[in-house]
Symmetry: C2
Amino acid sequence: MTTTEQTAAERLEKQFRFLTEIDRLKHVERQNILADSSRRENSAEHSWHLAVLALCLSEHATARGFDLFKVVQLLLIHDIVEIDAGDAFLHDAGALAAQAAKEQAAAERIFGLLPDDQRDSWLALWHEFESGTSAESLLARALDRVQPALLHEATDGVIWQKYGTTHAQIQAKMAVVRDAAPPLWARIQQIIARARAQGKLA
Amino acid sequence: MTTTEQTAAERLEKQFRFLTEIDRLKHVERQNILADSSRRENSAEHSWHLAVLALCLSEHATARGFDLFKVVQLLLIHDIVEIDAGDAFLHDAGALAAQAAKEQAAAERIFGLLPDDQRDSWLALWHEFESGTSAESLLARALDRVQPALLHEATDGVIWQKYGTTHAQIQAKMAVVRDAAPPLWARIQQIIARARAQGKLA
């Protein structure tokens, strides 16, 4: 085996190691339940759903000329850190602060399984999603709010009710949708208004 | 509300209806089990895993200059038909023939929930995956064979053993990998050889 072949084989081993490791995202449970209320959603199937949302709903984005493939990539990888760090409950400020440090360490460990060039580019993608300043990451973060709203609508807001979520908390979380995709924000206002009328919000 | 606004609202309702419907893919169980052997994999999380494989392994493709975003799109939507048609066991020729008709009807019903232009383009994507003639669909179909092999490796081929899968059946299914991505095919040969040596293949 030549050095080049050995390097190629080593690259592939690292990639297979990473791809086997991320299978664990299928075990990370989210707060949300599925549309038929049968069980909680896991972060792998959530990431798939989000990527399809991006393909389906991109016409509603405020931004023009953005890179939709980039949006999809951000959504496919943004939750991988939860393998180590778990899924933090969105409205708990204390948990979110502690979560940031855990997620940084998780990103370095898990993306660090990849060959160096891929480790660097995937870490950069993850940081882009977290910082949320590019048109692509703003839309990705907005869709990450829209998808749970879709499930809240299907399940009559029982999860909002269970966790005592307030109207103000939801509206604060949805601000990113108003900026990135106003038609989606308007649609979500209907979902929130209905849940509020039904007494599901604290 | 003007006619244009009404049409925009109707488009969004159709898209939300579709996106809620496809939540059901999270309930479609595959034959494969997860890497930790804890349970069977569902088709939504499988689709996510496949899309990440595409992002990670595209350098090993034989084709040059292909559209990686197209590959990812094909993988994200290819299993949606299983919501109606279920997951057919790969080595059963009879089931596969009946499956084709069921999947065609499923594609028309489910993608038919979308606005007409999206229905047409998503149906076209699904047909492209099924026909497997473009560089993108050949790579997508190859990755759809590589991902289960990754799980078979992690679980010591117990699913191959359970279903009495033969060495010839596996090699026939892996032919598409040999053509589309030879380095991945060579790596999978190691997995198959090990399973064979351990007596896991019929």
